[in-house]
């Protein structure tokens, strides 16, 4: 049975990579944005008095933005498949919900992983270099920080229609990225309090490991764990609600 689920996952991955428009656009946007923003500042070594080079600063910013939208985009794919009636077809196969979720999550992580890799390469072309330990710590922490977003993507895919999922995902990414401090740090006041309660804030913090930031403290782990639990429950609820309908 688990072997069967793995074959299913393998074909899901193959489909994702073959969907050229989706695949290339998902990866191209962060790259284009990166070169547009960081390119002209490639020789700024002390960005805004942080002691960090501009190419590095923007690289990590775009990694948090790019991975978030890559992983949430599984929602768009799910909504499309539901719209085509494919999920009804799946319900009359022995595919278990667990194997179904696994296929979706693995696919979403493939896109996120590739986004990270491509942006690392882009950063390197603009002279970004970090100690290996820091690359690894950052990457590991980002992958963990993305778990709640994987769940959110699945939930949105099962709640929204093909028409509404696009704006909803775009809006969510924009809002979460802004409040999480992707584009500029959110400091002080109510907004900072709100930001710290959001998973995107900790995703940004994870990428800031590369900037010499520390690995999350207790608050960070708790917030990410809480969102993982809440959004996973939400995703399962959305899936079950969706599969009960005619």
């Amino acid at each position: 049975m688990s072997g069967a689920g793995l074959t299913y996952t393998r074909f899901e991955l193959r489909r994702t990579v073959r969907n050229r428009r989706f695949f290339i656009l998902s990866l191209a946007f962060p790259v284009v944005l990166y070169f547009l923003i960081a390119g002209p500042n490639h020789d700024v070594n002390d960005f805004a008095n942080t002691g960090i080079s501009a190419p590095l600063y923007y690289m990590v910013g775009l990694i948090s933005f790019g991975t978030m939208s890559a992983i949430l985009s599984s929602g768009a794919r799910i909504a499309t498949e539901r719209g085509a009636g494919w999920n009804r077809q799946l319900r009359i196969t022995p595919l278990t919900p667990r194997a179904y979720f696994r296929a979706k999550i693995v696919t979403a992580y493939l896109m996120a992983g590739l986004t990270i890799l491509v942006l690392y390469i882009c950063g390197a072309t603009l002279g970004v270099s970090l100690p290996l330990a820091r690359w690894l710590a950052m990457t590991a922490l980002i992958l963990i920080a993305l778990i709640p977003f994987a769940a959110l993507g699945i939930a949105m895919g099962h709640l929204l229609t093909t028409d509404s999922v696009g704006p909803a995902l775009g809006g969510s990414v924009g809002l979460l990225a802004f409040l999480g401090g992707t584009w500029f740090p959110i400091t002080g006041g109510v907004l900072h309090g709100i930001a710290q309660a959001l998973p995107s804030y900790w995703l940004v913090q994870a990428s800031h490991v590369a900037l010499g930031g520390t690995v999350w403290g207790v608050t960070g782990w708790l917030v990410v764990a809480a969102w993982t639990i809440v959004l996973s429950a939400f995703a399962i609820w959305a899936y079950q609600r969706d599969t009960k309908r005619v």
């Binding site: 074959t7 074909f11 073959r18 009636g85 319900r91 022995p94 278990t96």
Partner: protein
């Protein structure tokens, strides 16, 4: 499968009501069906008769308000998890970015004892397009792939909800001829259709549904026998319907303008009597009553408005 060891399909007291804009819609009302292993059964009825709702409940896609479904002594979810069921739903597209062969392999991988992909491609006539991406197929080819997906599991029960609805005449014929090859394997087949001739030609048994109820259930030959076996049509101005009705062999008579229509239980006697009594009768046609006729007769009783 041994026909007598595996119990077949049993729907008992199935009912489903939907909320509609004008009050409740009784889509399926107290449907009882027993289907034996290896039978090919047509579920016949016009749109809105309750065929698809019945099939959805049979497949566990829709929970019934009342009644039970048993597929080979299991509930639908168990039977599906065990891989005993293959189904082609009425609507649905294919997912893109896989070849026909890959899509069939993907679905087959979920089942314990599927047919080989090559075998499925062969019996569904998809060999020529096996390596094409699903999004490049024509409508008829897409229908065939959907059928292939239903068939690939090598299921004990094959359920097809209006499988030929999007096909042209040629495609429909090809579809049914490929289906006939399968029934030797002892697969139980249930298909919904509103094409009477499909049920007539391809099923052992027909279940007629109207307004959510079963109005007739029996061998297709028996269904046809439930109404006059022949119909005589003729142009015959001036003859009274009441008089025509008294002719030997005539069960009922009707008039549409100058045309008269006689439903006969003995058309040989009726035509002799008709020509003797009314030598002016012309444009005479005698036709066998197909299921269409049986269907109209059996389902035309007025019912309270269902929708």
């Amino acid at each position: 499968m041994e026909a007598h060891t595996a119990a077949g399909i049993s729907l008992s007291g199935l009912s489903k009501t939907f909320r509609g804009p004008n009050g409740p819609v009784h889509a399926v009302r107290d449907v009882d069906v027993e289907i034996e292993h290896g039978e090919t059964v047509a579920l016949l009825g016009p749109n809105g008769a309750g065929k698809s709702t019945t099939i959805d409940m049979m497949l566990g896609l829709l929970p019934p308000d009342a009644g039970t479904v048993s597929l080979f002594r299991c509930d639908p979810h168990e039977a599906i998890a065990a891989g005993s069921v293959g189904a082609m739903l009425q609507t649905g597209e294919l997912i893109r970015d896989l070849s026909v062969r890959e899509l069939i392999a993907m679905i087959s991988s979920l089942y314990p004892a599927p047919f080989t992909v090559d075998h499925v491609l062969e019996i569904t006539g998809l060999g020529d397009v096996a390596d094409q991406r699903t999004q490049k197929l024509s409508g008829g080819q897409t229908q065939r792939v959907r059928f292939a997906i239903a068939l690939a599991p090598n299921p004990q029960l094959l359920v097809l909800d209006e499988p030929t609805v999007a096909m042209d005449v040629e495609g429909r014929q090809a579809f049914w001829s490929s289906m006939r090859g399968l029934t030797d394997g002892g697969t139980t087949i249930v298909f919904a259709t509103h094409y009477m001739e499909e049920a007539d030609a391809n099923a052992d048994r027909a279940i007629l549904m109207a307004h959510g109820r079963i109005v007739a259930d029996g061998p297709t030959t028996e269904i046809k026998g439930m109404v006059g076996s022949r119909t005589i049509r003729a142009t015959l101005p001036g003859a009274s319907v009441d008089e025509l009705r008294t002719l030997p062999g005539v069960a009922s008579a009707d008039r549409h303008g100058e045309a008269v229509i006689l439903n006969c239980d003995d058309s040989d006697a009726a035509i002799r009597a008709l020509l003797q009594r009314y030598p002016a009768a012309r444009d005479i046609e005698i036709s066998g009553a197909g299921l269409e006729q049986a269907f109209l007769q059996l389902t035309s009783e007025p019912e309270e408005v269902a929708a």
